[in-house]
């Protein structure tokens, strides 16, 4: 099996006057060809920072402190601006959370999608009109011929998100990062967008990294899921395993808090996410973990891989 993306011990820090924020602190995972890789975590878990890091979109005071991001063998952390330009939008692309602010209000949506073609194929923007209409049809934007000349403010949230998706798939990239693509939308539209992404994955044979706080959503569409907590990986497992036997206490807590069984009360995980400037010693989850042991307070858990290739970082598991 081929790895489209391989992230090795990535650390992304923010240099703030209050201290160094360790937003991503030693994260490793791989994304395979054609799979939907879900990343789940609360806000502050580092998942969005991770997305920006992969795309090379980090701005100061953020910086990649250490680690490697290998995209088909190429280390993305070492690319120059010029090299990035041929990768962004063409081989890796990203869909952002809030379609309203991520679109330029003074240009038509057709123009903005055409910019992707212009960037990678050269030529005049107007020559890509047909291609844009084709893409709009693919993402199921109604009345595509007219919509091409619409401005962002004239479109609904769901349609704007489809425009962002259009930009992402225009050049048929190998990897698409979707950073909370549905969080700003209504639930019904969410379902449509998710279905769309699934379908596109199949037709374009791309890999998708789907980032969200909604673990339940991931259990429905992701092939494998990585759960993040406070800048670190808690667990990586395939969909079935997460559903049937979540290993990490945090994962379990998440699964239990979304149980749809009406007879059982929703259980919240007590406590709140720790500060990333001064995180808890040892395992970062230990203050909130119902199964915390003495060593959890002192030592950081090591990476444990199981037979199926699932990964967990927890003292409960000692290398099976």
């Amino acid at each position: 099996m081929n790895n489209v993306l391989l992230v090795e011990d990535l650390r992304v820090y923010y240099d703030l006057p209050q201290g160094i924020v360790k937003a991503v602190d030693g994260v490793s995972f791989d994304v395979r060809e054609g799979e939907i890789f879900g990343i789940a975590g609360e806000s502050g878990s580092g998942k969005s920072t991770l997305a920006l890091a992969i795309m090379g979109l980090l701005r100061p005071p953020a910086r990649i402190a250490s680690g490697r991001i290998l995209f088909k063998g190429v280390d993305l952390t070492k690319l120059s601006d010029k090299e990035w330009r041929s990768i962004r939008g063409r081989r890796i692309s990203i869909i952002f959370q809030d379609p309203t602010t991520y679109l330029n209000p003074v240009y038509t949506v057709g123009f903005q999608v055409a910019e992707v073609f212009e960037a990678h194929r050269g030529g005049v923007i107007s020559s890509f009109l047909k291609d844009v209409i084709e893409i709009f049809k693919k993402v199921k934007i109604a009345d595509p011929e007219r919509r091409v000349t619409s401005y962002p403010h004239q479109l609904s949230g769901g349609m704007k998100q489809r425009v962002l998706i259009s930009m992402a798939i225009a050049e048929k990239p190998d990897l698409i990062i979707a950073d909370e693509p549905t969080s700003a939308l209504d639930v019904t539209i969410q379902a449509e967008i998710v279905d769309l992404l699934n379908e596109l994955r199949r037709s374009l044979r791309t890999s998708i990294i789907f980032i969200t706080h909604d673990l339940a959503l991931l259990t429905e569409i992701a092939d494998r899921i990585m759960v993040m907590y406070a800048g670190k990986v808690a667990e990586i497992a395939d969909r079935k395993s997460i559903l049937s036997e979540p290993k990490h206490p945090y994962t379990r807590g998440l699964m239990e808090s979304v149980k749809y069984d009406r007879k059982v009360r929703l259980k919240a995980i007590r406590g709140s996410i720790p500060s990333l400037i001064d995180p808890p010693k040892g395992c970062r989850f230990h203050p909130r973990c119902p199964l915390a042991m003495d060593e959890c307070r002192i030592y950081e858990p090591k990476r444990v891989v199981d037979a199926k290739g699932g990964v967990v970082y927890c003292h409960l598991y000692k290398g099976e």
Binding site: R85, R88, G89, I94, T101, N104, V106, E115, H120
Partner: protein
């Protein structure tokens, strides 16, 4: 199908006219709704009965109020702003005679300001810790804090008195415009530079720039399309706000330099208690101001597609 642009323009034009009439009415009442005898107040504490009567006659204050109002409105519509008490000539003539000087001063000052301030602001935003940025900040603080008349006088002192380089007042030669224009420009540049920097900074950190980068666009296209073009909107706001400062600042600057424009004419007319002339000039300036604002709004509509959708704006 009616274009939303022309609908907007029509609506905006109507609004301008309504506002102008409103301003005229307001002004009418400012002069007349005063406790006591307006003519006496205007004539001042040292006036003779004759002076008071003259003013009362000239402003038509002896007639019943609705008649005054009627005369007032109809004469403005006819373009008749009255006859100057001091000069005896129609106010319109006096204004038109000196208008070119004010326009010249305003244009030169604004040109200087735009040429210096906008590039300065853009560069300051792109390189926030550079020397350029600090100069821009300093200039903007000084430009918005120092009184125009003081700066003008200081400049006169330095250039006309000490260095004897430039003339200090009047408008007899092209050299005469330099100091007044510089003074007014100083005032305008500071503000414009700061606002430009803020607008560009805002555009630079906006999310759609991230999208543009994520698409793989080259820096030049990102800069022009997604930063500059977008910051044009707030910059237009600033320029329209500047118009007020320009007109007001021109009044003071013209007075300091004895520049024969309508600003100094206004101040002189108040000094000589020629209230007919003063009234006429004020209404004229207000009219011009409203017109300029209208033009800026039109430019706005051309630049920002959101403005054209009236339905979108009226929430």
């Amino acid at each position: 199908m009616v274009s939303s642009l022309s609908t907007y323009l029509f609506y905006r034009f109507l609004q301008a006219i309504v506002t102008f009439f409103g301003a005229m009415i307001l002004f009418f009442f400012i002069v007349r709704i005063l406790p006591g005898d307006p003519a006496r107040i205007l004539a001042g504490p040292e006036a003779s009965e004759e002076d008071v009567a003259k003013i009362r006659e000239a402003l038509g204050l002896n007639k019943p109020i609705y008649e005054q109002f009627f005369i007032y409105l109809t004469s403005i519509l006819r373009g008749d702003l009255g006859t100057s008490i001091k000069y005896g000539t129609p106010v319109v003539n006096e204004i038109l005679a000196r208008l070119p000087y004010t326009i010249a001063l305003a244009l030169v000052a604004e040109a200087i300001a735009v040429i210096i301030a906008i590039p300065l602001g853009v560069l300051a935003a792109l390189k926030p810790r550079s020397m350029l940025s600090y100069i821009a900040s300093l200039l903007s603080i000084l430009g918005t804090s120092l009184p125009v008349f003081w700066v003008g006088l200081m400049l006169i002192f330095i250039f006309a008195v000490e260095l004897r380089l430039l003339p200090s007042s009047g408008a007899d030669s092209p050299k005469h415009i330099i100091l007044p224009a510089l003074t007014l420009a100083f005032f305008l540049t500071g503000n414009l530079a700061r606002m430009t920097k803020a607008a560009v900074l805002e555009a630079l950190s906006s999310n759609h720039v991230v999208t543009a980068i994520a698409k793989g666009l080259p820096f030049s296209k990102i800069l022009v399309r997604h930063v500059l073009r977008v910051s044009l909107i707030p910059i237009l706001t600033i320029i329209s706000l500047q118009l007020g400062a320009l007109l007001g600042g021109a009044i003071i600057t013209e007075t300091v330099f004895a520049w024969p424009g309508i600003g100094s004419l206004l101040v002189d007319s108040l000094f000589y208690r020629d209230y007919v002339l003063a009234q006429g000039i004020i209404m004229f300036i207000v009219g011009v101001f409203i017109l300029l604002n209208l033009l800026t709004d039109i430019a706005y509509a051309l630049v920002d597609p959101r403005i054209r959708d009236v339905l979108w704006r009226v929430r």
